[in-house]
Amino acid sequence: MSTTNEKDWPLWEIFLQSKKGLDHKHVGSLHAADARMAVENARDVYTRRGEGNSIWAVRASDIHASRPEDQGEFFDPADDKVYRHPTFYPMPEGVKYI
């Protein structure tokens, strides 16, 4: 079942890279008829103040997400397994940004 009018443009999720080498971050969503228009609209909507260096647009319907009701079985078991964190090693002196 779809409540979307066929005349409506599909929804796109927009990811921006603020500087070369950094990852693309999700900044929001917008409507566009196709990928090309999505990238242009993203340029106008999200990069007006110099926020962006590269744009990715992904059709929202192509994103598959975990469900909130799976929260417990998906994520809670990780909470009590401290040995999964590399905290039991002595750090050499002079190593920064860890």
Binding site: A32, R36, E40, N41, D44, V45, R48
Partner: protein, 252 residues
């Protein structure tokens, strides 16, 4: 007309074109067919108004009578405006706006490309900055025109109607007045007819992709560049200038 007078007139015209078209496009603010497009059109309007400020400031300096950008924008009547007629036409439906922008952008870009090599440092500086903005304007208007022409029956019909109605304003773009002839001879600006080949190529390429029919050359309207305008400009100026005219020198 000496070269300085010619330069004043040319800078003024570039400012008038950008200001009038920028104002026309700004009329979509809050009314565009989609939120995203509302922002896009408003961005384009602001680009043009920014360009207008640069040109009008420069025109005022060249003239040397102490007129600032605001004096030139808000305290001249339509007879003193020397923009091309195409820029002042009403925004019409969205197809009219896109077709007008496209026909203008296809002219504006090669003009700025040439001005970016001007022997006049100020014009060169303004053009170097503006040419990137205008490259995007042309891309945006071309994309829409292709979608309209190659879209539904109704969008095709509206785009073709707008094209047929606005075509008669394109001849004036390439008609050089005395100021433009003087400056072209001095290498300050390109001869306007030299821009026609690129304009034709852009128009033919996009119209072919849009499956729209290029109108026959036919009769061309002109006069805007001499200050003889269509009825639409004075109405637009009345609205644009009302605050400054009613409260001279007002600031807030």
């Amino acid at each position: 007309m000496n070269q300085q007078e010619a330069l004043f007139r040319f800078a003024l015209r570039m400012g008038d074109n950008a200001l009038v078209l920028g104002h026309r496009i700004s009329e979509w603010c809050g009314h565009a067919p989609a939120l995203e497009e509302d922002i896009a059109q408003t961005n384009i309007a602001l680009d043009l108004i920014g360009q207008a400020r640069n040109y009008l400031t420069y025109a005022g300096e060249v003239e040397g009578k102490g007129r600032k950008e605001d004096d030139l924008a808000y305290l001249r009547d339509s007879r003193e405006y020397i923009n091309a007629l195409i820029t002042e036409q009403p925004k019409g439906d969205f197809a009219h706006t896109i077709v007008r922008s496209f026909l203008w952008d296809a002219f504006h870009r090669p003009l700025l490309n040439a001005l970016a090599n001007s022997s006049d440092e100020r014009l060169k500086g303004i053009a170097e900055k503006a040419v990137k903005e205008v490259a995007y304007h042309l891309r945006h208007s071309s994309e829409w025109l292709i979608r309209f022409g190659d879209g539904t029956e109704e969008s095709h019909r509206r785009a073709q109607t707008a094209l047929d109605e606005l075509w008669r304003f394109t001849g004036e773009l390439f008609e050089a007045d005395e100021a433009e002839q003087i400056l072209a001879k001095e290498g300050v600006i390109p001869p306007l007819e030299s821009l026609k080949a690129e304009w034709n190529a852009t128009v033919d390429r996009v119209l072919a992709e849009a499956t729209l029919k290029r109108p026959s050359e036919g009769w061309m309207a002109s006069g805007g560049k001499k200050g003889v305008h269509t009825e639409h400009l004075s109405l637009m100026l009345a609205e644009m200038q009302t605050l400054q005219r009613s409260y001279p020198g007002v600031e807030w």
